[in-house]
């Protein structure tokens, strides 16, 4: 955990436009209003596990510490429980900001898909992109192929149990109109270019 901060923050390493970039994401518009009260961190059940608390992430975004934020582990600990958003006294939608940061980290290559968390979300995205719906078996396979397949050997008994309980489908039951889902994904990719 890196919480020591007394070393000089090199100004030339900062990206002053970072805050504006995050603010342009859905739900990011109010980040400049943050009064650093820490309600988000105090409400977050994952704070203790993060390398930077949610409040600090926001301070770093405003300071332009793009590299540090987008390579931080903290953003991958957000479970999207929305406590911070519900309680923020300034109306900042921090959960949405976390989504934006994860998305940026993936898009701009600040994280490796060898890492478990980014790989999971990316695989999830790909399954939905392909079938229009979730298919757990495809998700696990996609995830395993991205990271280390051996990591998933341990999952086998659980998966088998799920299967026995009728909780895993072998074949995906996707959307019929898969072309439409593909088209939507493409539309969104076009609209997201900023």
């Amino acid at each position: 955990m890196s919480t020591s901060t007394l070393e000089l923050l090199p100004e030339e390493g900062l990206e002053p436009g970072f805050a504006a970039q995050v603010a342009s994401y859905p739900g990011g518009e109010k980040i400049r209003r943050c009064i650093q009260c820490g309600t988000c961190s105090g409400s977050c059940q994952m704070s203790a596990d993060m390398d930077y608390t949610p409040r600090r992430i926001l301070a770093m975004v405003r300071a332009g510490m793009k590299k540090e934020v987008l390579s931080s582990q903290a953003i991958w600990y957000c479970a999207a429980c929305y406590y911070c958003t519900a309680r923020c006294p300034m109306g900042i939608k921090l959960t949405e900001v976390m989504f934006a940061l994860k998305s940026l980290a993936l898009k701009e290559g600040y994280v490796s898909l060898k890492q478990h968390s980014p790989a999971f979300y990316k695989s999830f995205y790909e399954v939905v992109e392909r079938y229009g719906r979730m298919h757990e078996a495809s998700l696990i396979i996609g995830l395993a192929l991205k990271t280390n397949p051996l990591d998933f050997v341990g999952l086998a008994p659980f998966g088998l149990n799920m299967f026995r309980k009728g909780k895993i489908e072998i074949l995906p039951h996707g959307v019929k109109n898969r072309q439409e889902i593909k088209a939507l994904v493409q539309q969104v990719q076009r609209l997201e270019v900023r």
Binding site: T3, T5, I35, C37, G38, S41, G42, R87, P89
Partner: protein, 651 residues
Amino acid sequence: MLEEIRIGVYVCHCGSNIADKVDCPAVAAYASQLPHVVVARDYQYMCSDPGQELIRQDIKELKLNRVVVASCSPRMHEPTFRKVCESAGLNGYLYEMANIREHCSWVTEDPQQATEKAKALVRAAVARVVHHEPLFERWAPVNPNILVVGGGIAGIEAALKVAAAGNKVWLVEKSPSIGGNMARLDKTFPTLDCSACILTPKMVSVAQDENITLLTYAEVEQVEGYVGNFRVTIRKKARSVDLNKCTGCGRCQEKCPVEVPSEFEAGLAMRKAIYTPFPQAVPNKPAIDREHCRHFTRTKGKCRVCFNVCQVGAIDYDQEDELVTYECGAIIVATGYGLFDPSVGPQWGYGRYDDVITAIQFERLVNASGPTKGKVVCKDGRVPERIAILHCIGSRDENYHPYCSRICCMASLKLAHLAREKTGAEVYNFYIDLRAFGKGYEEFYNRILEEGVNFIRGKGAEVTQKDGRLVVRGEDTLLGRYREVPVDLVILNTALEPQPDATKVAQIFGIQRSADGFFLESHPKLEPLKTATDGVFIAGCCQGPKDIPDSVAQGAGAAAEALSLATAGKVKISPVVASIDPDLCSGCRMCLPLCPYGAISFNEEKKVAEVNETLCKGCGTCAASCGSGALNVRHFTRNQILTQIEEVLAV
């Protein structure tokens, strides 16, 4: 023969306030081309002495008979320039103001657009002023009596000051005793003097002052009239106790069988259905709370215990509400504040955990005459070893109140001190920012720091329970670390908010409210005690959260405002009133019910409507509804407004 119209136009730079956006010389040049304009000048500060002198000179030397000043809002300086005209012998109503600051330079990005807009506003003012007529203010006598509403520290101070000047004052308080919120506090910051010790002498003075008529358990129901001449209807709620007979012996309260949570003790103790709110109450005589008294709530077996034990026969179950009227020249509203109910935010645990209490409850807990006789204990009687004080509960929070409640930082420091003094507990203050803004406050903060109180810069996000103990969760933002601090007692310092009945009170007195719901002053800097209704003043926390010194200062200030009216003995009445052209009036009587002041009557003989100018306040609702065009409002005539509309569109 009509005299020739000669207009002078004065465009103010207001330093850079206007000139930064509006090309003032260009506006003046434009104005000089307009019909009837004899002179058009621009000047640094029109409201300054030389600026005023400029107008005076021109009126005299250029024989101006109309003046237009293009500067700030008429709500600011209209009276200033009206006086300037009058001092040069020109009727003050032959002048018009164009608002090129608040409505133009300050709100417009582009200088060219701002200049164009200023030209339009000036053009309209010039065209309008042509149609102005000389009007004459009248004087009305001022009743020297004064009404003070609200018996907290601000109202008490106001009433005492008015009384000291020799004027009669009625002090109306809705609860059975005066004293207000201050009476509930244990100590006051930063001096730590005992709240009751400094307040009760003032309360007693109120009761003893010959000039003060104290009406407790009473509420104002209606206000009629206008500045200098108000007529106020007050409902004296049935107290069921004859104050003249009652000796305040307290036997009735001892014997009363009904117990109700005490408002004064913030629910930590019980009171009886017949009660004096607290031992030092003024008047120190009880009232029966009919909502809970068994004599009133039961249909059968009506209780008569208090009646039976009273040796002087002061109990009167048949007493009824009484309406009394009071005529006065000025009104001071000092109705105080309410407290935010933290149970609306379940995350703070209030109402769910016994040992989560509010600041006012702690004040009572620590008070020697409070429910525990000053012992600070948890619900189960344990002395707390660790105490958390959470700041900003309901304040600085868009989910509740966006404003800062101003006093909680200092109050929290005081509570931290008292908690340590009484229990030796470790105290943790969870704060966002520490605002120690007053005289001696920063020094007090330093003292509390030295006393070893723990400060965690981070809002207490949640109070929960872990292994049977309360835990405050929050981030220590200075460390950047998440913390779960185990404590035995949590004190929530809750927001000050407008009284629950603020809407009703505002309507009764014609007071406006700001976005936060508190009463709105005329001007945030220069007229903090005045309201939009002449003769109605505000003081204390009804205007917004304040500490005791500020409330006292405002109470005294409001008294000075009211007294200056009373001492002058007369007040100007605006000539902006409705008028009826009897030749045009069709006698349809449509206007009669429209007037909220009953200022229009029907002359049966002439079959036309007539305006009583003393009662009329000049709103113009009648004029807007007159089918025959007979009704008009002076200074806001149809002609004047239509001309203004037409010309404002001409640029």
